[in-house]
Homo-oligomer: 206 residues x 2
Amino acid sequence: MLTLYYAPATCALASHIALECAGAAYDTRRLDFGKQEQRSAEYLRINPKGRVPALVTERGVITETPAVLMYIAQAHPQAKLAPLQDAFQLAKVNEFNSYLCATVHVAHAHKRRGARWSDDAGAHESMRAKVPQNMGECFALIERDLLRGPWVLGDGFSICDPYLFTLSSWLEADGVDIARFPKVADHYARMQQDARVKKVLAQHTA
Amino acid sequence: MLTLYYAPATCALASHIALECAGAAYDTRRLDFGKQEQRSAEYLRINPKGRVPALVTERGVITETPAVLMYIAQAHPQAKLAPLQDAFQLAKVNEFNSYLCATVHVAHAHKRRGARWSDDAGAHESMRAKVPQNMGECFALIERDLLRGPWVLGDGFSICDPYLFTLSSWLEADGVDIARFPKVADHYARMQQDARVKKVLAQHTA
């Protein structure tokens, strides 16, 4: 049994959808960021970084979305969520997920997490102001160069798809009109219609 | 034959050391960031992100350090640079490299790349001021929770080691005394003595 620690409206959504798509045996624990539960002594013993997601396995805890996603794919090979036998295609999965993790998510985080990188309130305001531009540029690159369509890797659904869906879901609040990116918008709409995605979203918004 | 595009004093150092440790058949192309060669039309056809590293393979280009490192390990299994047959241990590799990529490298980047996230010069100054604190906190976590010793994964050298070495090499310029972190300092010193690392560093500093 796997246990996923998550909070609503965070990148943990990607791992939750991936578990559902893998047909995994799992349960979940919800953290209330409003109550700073991610900073509790109990949770810091699970993930000393105080972030989500954290996936508790029989052998230990896995953190960081790209690592959690790849573990889910490898632990459920019958679900075919990654091209595990093809080193080059697997590198393209890792490349895509690294870009979302280290560039796109970071661009987004400058809206509300500016205190991570500056102690100056004016600086936070200037970071917030640039988020629409940066998120727009990231998604322009995704639209033009990375999303092959209909799924990220082309014909095959993979762990890249719930991750892209999760970050796409942040665009509206980040001041970016998803309609500027037709392939991304189509991908997002198809994901929204997926019964497994609907099930997970219902839990997150409950 | 693999071709690595790199620039000195960037995270491409990790991929270069990994190629050397893998015994790979490869050559390199050096970009001059001072001349903005990473923004040339020729290079943007290779990597539209305008960053390094980029690894050109027979099947296409791979970017993003965690993806390049894992590809090098998978393409050279005899070098045993990753626990390829163990999904949990491989997840720990991905977790470590994702943390370096999305948190530690990003913390460092706020020293000289603040213009990515704000258009205000005062904000850049406040970001620079916080870099020693953030890099110090990242390496305190690495020292306490992530670096098992003597290598990142414990007894086995892996692709995590050249990546940690690369980011450790930034500490002094980031205003952090590596001596605060005895295990990291020991790891850094051992890596510096490795003949393969010396060979790569000599090329980067030439």
